[in-house]
Amino acid sequence: MAAKVKEKKLKKLRTRGHRVVLNRSAGGDGGIAFMLIILGAFMFLPMYYVVIQSLKPLDELFMFPPRFYVMKPTFDNFGDLVTLMSDSWVPFSRYIFNTVFITICGTVGNLIFASMAAYALAKLRFPGRNAIFQIIVMSLMFHSTVNQVTHFIILSSFGWVDTYLSIIVPSMAGTMGLYLMKQFMETSVPDTVLESARLDGASEFRTYLTIAMPMVKPAWMTLIIECFKTLWNSGASIYIHSEELKTFNYAIQQIVTGGIARSGAGAAATVVMMLVPILIFVFNQSQIVETMGSSGMKD
């Protein structure tokens, strides 16, 4: 009797294409599409406008009213960017070098330190393990800029103010990457595999390096983009005074605030800056989403 009712109910569920679609009304689908288009436009149009601005020749930049398309696209703004920057007394290439150098050092350091710690926290049972992880989770609850003043005092006691170290070293202990890596290792590295490696006589460090790490490649990419986006986008820092140590992002900010005449070059610089993280994300999206599947927090 119960089985009959069940069958009847399942028959009622409409099918769409080849898979069963449950509890979906056409009106609801339309509503969702409508909402996505409205919200998507809000998200997308400013991004699109940056790109359009960067391709506009000067006369189109000053057109009234401003247009959301470009009539004679040109790469002049990108050229202007280079000339504009070469006029400054710190060469353009220096800002780029600073950003790239800081980003690579910090991200690589974070990947090594955080994944090592994540492995120990996820896969080894030792006293203090939970306490350590709890403290790290707690740090996710506040924004690091709250610490800026005392952070500065500590950096200056090391004599690191106005050096690359002031940005690179603290970023190596970024907790977001560690958190995501640890959660992912817990679900996707089976203990039995590690156990058999240990039985074969591999040291714990070797097991981490040759067994666990290759299994969590998706989490690498996630950690890298988490650390990368922070460092790549770091702008004016209160820890850096020297012009020749400042980042590309800082330089852009100077151009963009330079007024309407520079808005084309400013847009060009923004496009250059945003292209890199977006490309990294595009090529690793499925891996990142896979890692995020285990990002949940259990109270």
């Binding site: 069940k6 109910k9 399942l10 569920l13 069963v20 449950l22 509890n23 979906r24 969702i32 996505l36 919200l39 998200m43 400013p46 991004m47 940056v50 000053f62 009213p65 090594i112 330190f113 090592m116 710690a117 120990a120 030792f126 203090g128 790290i136 996710l140 609850m141 506040f142 800029t145 709250v146 610490n147 003043v149 005392t150 005092i153 500590i154 070293v169 603290p170 202990a173 977001m176 714990e204 460090f205 981490y208 790549w232 986008n233 702008g235 992002n249 852009i252 900010q253 847009a267 923004t270 800056m273 945003m274 990142i288 989403v289 995020m292 990002s295 949940g296 927090m297 259990k298 109270d299």
Partner: protein
């Protein structure tokens, strides 16, 4: 009587052995500590230590040059009783956080849910569109172009074209608009890590649960969301909430870039700004530490409250 003494003794002994056991375990797991050490050491120095240092320095008068002088709670009384701008900053911060926190959180959840209803190929593109602003650094400066104070900005041009205004509005220099605009821009950049976490969470839910639920009488997608999807997603929602709170309190840089510092009439002045003003510009480290401690307490309190609320989802 003799029984109680007998039960006491083994407990005591086991406590002793527990200590020794712990020590043994620690020695056995030496490698684990070595593996954590580099990260944890840096974490302690650059994250934990600053917090405690703030707490200690908040009770002192310190200008970075002379040795800090203990002043008790003077900094706190000054903060709440004499500093009108701090009270204003508190108001702004709470308004900003109360709007951007919940709205960005619900937006992330809702959009992730919508996206999950799409076919897989379109899903990747749509995810990118929504996620891109949060990883693109200071691309949000484009809002300054869109809302620039001359007629070349899109907002002014459109309003003037329609004949709604006769002269350009000074968007980011007008106390009436600053807060609203900053909230919009903050929301625009807020679909970040939590949003991805939600997307992943929706994807990992077992489809057979929906089939079972449909048989059990779930009638539409809203019921499905409330009774099945959200309870299964609770860990992700917890994670997302933590990030939403963190971000909603730490948005100072966006305001600086858009409105300059200080913002007009302190209209978008937040606790974070007040903190960097006293700590960075005036070298009143003790006072700024007190501000930091207040902000800490607000952040942790919000976390506790939100977590309590979230544990009721789907019940």
């Amino acid at each position: 009587m003799s029984q109680t003494t007998e039960t006491k003794r083994p407990v005591k002994r086991s406590e002793m052995s527990k200590l020794r056991w712990t020590w043994k375990e620690m020695k056995r797991n030496k490698t684990a500590y070595f593996m954590i050490a580099p990260f944890f050491l840096l974490f302690i120095i650059f994250t934990v230590l600053p917090v405690f240092l703030s707490m200690i320095l908040s009770l002192t008068d310190f200008n970075m040059l002379e040795f800090p002088e203990f002043v008790g709670v003077t900094n706190y009384t000054r903060l709440f009783l004499q500093d009108d701008i701090f009270i204003l900053a508190c108001q702004n911060t709470l308004i900003f956080a109360a709007v951007t926190g919940p709205v960005s959180y619900l937006l992330s959840l809702l959009i992730a849910w919508f996206i999950n209803e799409l076919p897989p190929k379109i899903r990747a593109v749509v995810t990118l569109i929504f996620y891109a602003p949060s990883i693109s650094g200071n691309v949000y400066l484009i809002w300054k172009t869109l809302f620039s104070s001359d007629q070349y900005g899109w907002a002014n041009a459109t309003l003037m074209d329609l004949g709604l205004i006769s002269s350009p509005i000074l968007w980011f220099e007008d106390a009436d608009y600053v807060m609203g605009l900053c909230i919009v821009v903050a929301l625009w950049t807020s679909l970040g890590t939590a949003f991805l976490s939600f997307i992943a969470g929706f994807q990992t839910i077992d489809r057979s649960m929906y089939e079972a639920a449909a048989v059990d009488g779930i009638k539409n997608r809203w019921q499905e969301l409330w009774y099945i999807t959200l309870p299964t997603m609770r860990p992700q929602m917890m994670f997302g909430a933590v990030l939403a709170i963190t971000n909603s309190f730490g948005f100072g840089a966006v305001v600086d870039a858009l409105c300059g510092f200080p913002s007009v009439d302190y209209a978008a002045h937040t606790i974070m700004h007040h903190l960097s003003d006293y700590g960075g510009a005036r070298y009143e480290v003790g006072y700024s530490s007190a501000i930091a401690v207040v902000l800490f307490i607000i952040m942790f309190a919000s976390n506790v409250v939100i977590k309590k609320a979230l544990s009721k989802v789907g019940e």
